[in-house]
Amino acid sequence: MRRAFGALLVRDLRLALRAGGGAGLGVVFFLAVVVVTPFAIGPDLALLARIGPAILWIGALLASLIGLDRLFAADAEDGSLDVLSMGALPLELVAAAKGLAHWIATGLPLVVAAPVLALLLNLAPASIGALTLTLLVGTPAITFLGLIGAAFAAVFRRGGLLVAVLVMPLTIPVLIFAVAATSTALGGTVPFGTPFRILLGLSLAAMVLGPIAAAAALRVARD
């Protein structure tokens, strides 16, 4: 079973990294959001430093949703999903392996890019550290919650919109606690650990519940 999990993980990573896989798309989108924002807001450095973490998180959230609609749909269209669901691996772990591969290919680059992009928004060093840490912990939550939308997108055949509509509301708590944790780095009465632990809990819950819900959605498709 571990071998099957690893095989699926490696296959999805290969597919994401080969030409046309779309692994770089999220980072480019992230970059675009962050670069454009200072032009829209104006040259107020203090303001940028204050709202910077929020902008970076919104960018990362939207960038994480890119490509999710194809996650299961591509496998459903070429028949792979049928064979996958007959393998040694339960559908829940199939979903988890695909989610993990998707996060490594699209979420992890966002975490790596964030400290560099944070400089563009005049973030303080403490803020940059806190932001990177919240992204590392929070982006898996978005990807694994996104699995639910991805599964429905495959079931209903055309579901690019479904992913955004279904997944966005679920990610709001992640956004709230992630940005709250980042702003504690600039001072305040709440210590960093309080919102950060809640974020950690949200992420762990999403990693367990997301694949289970996605597998249930995929099973509904078998009429």
């Binding site: 095989a7 896989g21 028949g79 007959m86």
Partner: protein, 212 residues
């Protein structure tokens, strides 16, 4: 080992495709499912594969650890080949070998067996339709599963490849395997039973009181 199907019915929308279908397939035999288009050949295979739910009826595979859930004893080869075009033939096949478990032939041996030797490193996207189909057939050989469910297995295959696949299928049956194949082409899989699904069509196919 035997596959037992009892009183199976399949509904698509408001139409009953077949009803009261029952058969027993012994190990070492193949079942050739025939019938006009739209009689439910593919649907029957998907039900047997556990990919669709029957309207009524039961099926089991005696002689396996879990007779009622024999998905892991089953190879399903549908209309779609289940390849990734961006990966090479070798990568695709190696992936299915790890994914399906209970490895049998190695990737190289399986590719030789279906006549794809030498094409291992090519991306599947550049293979012809017939070569893609052969690669899908090679999937049957890399994992040991007794029941093969084949939906038009010889589509796009040339005459030589059809004969070669016939040999592989006869070897599988001779080794005590089971095959259920839906086809229009005449296939020689060794000791065969026939099933004409057209004969199981219900007298009144439209189910009343059911919304599509």
């Amino acid at each position: 080992m035997q596959l037992v199907v009892e009183n199976l019915a399949c509904r698509r929308g408001v139409r009953l495709l077949f009803q009261g279908l029952g058969f027993t397939l012994e190990a070492g035999r193949a079942l050739i499912v025939t019938g006009p288009n739209g009689t439910g050949k593919s649907s029957l295979l998907r039900i047997l594969a556990g990919l669709a739910r029957p309207e009524a009826g039961a099926m089991r595979m005696d002689g396996t650890p879990e007779p009622d859930d024999f998905t892991e004893e089953t190879h399903y080869l549908g209309h779609l080949d289940a390849h990734k075009g961006a990966l090479s033939a070798q990568e695709n096949l190696a992936f299915w070998r790890d994914m399906l478990g209970r490895p049998a032939l190695s990737v190289g041996e399986a590719m030789d067996a279906v006549g794809l030797g030498g094409l291992e490193r090519l991306p599947v996207a550049v293979l012809s339709a017939g070569q893609k189909r052969r690669l899908a057939l090679a999937r049957l050989l890399v994992a040991r599963r007794p029941l093969w469910l084949l939906d038009e297995p010889t589509t796009a295959l040339d005459v030589a490849a059809q004969a070669r696949f016939g040999e592989l299928a006869r070897a599988h049956v001779a080794a005590g395997g089971l095959i259920v194949a839906a086809t229009h082409a005449p296939l020689d899989f060794g000791p065969c039973d026939g099933l004409d699904l057209g004969a199981w069509r219900p007298a009144r196919p439209v189910v009343e009181g059911v919304d599509a």
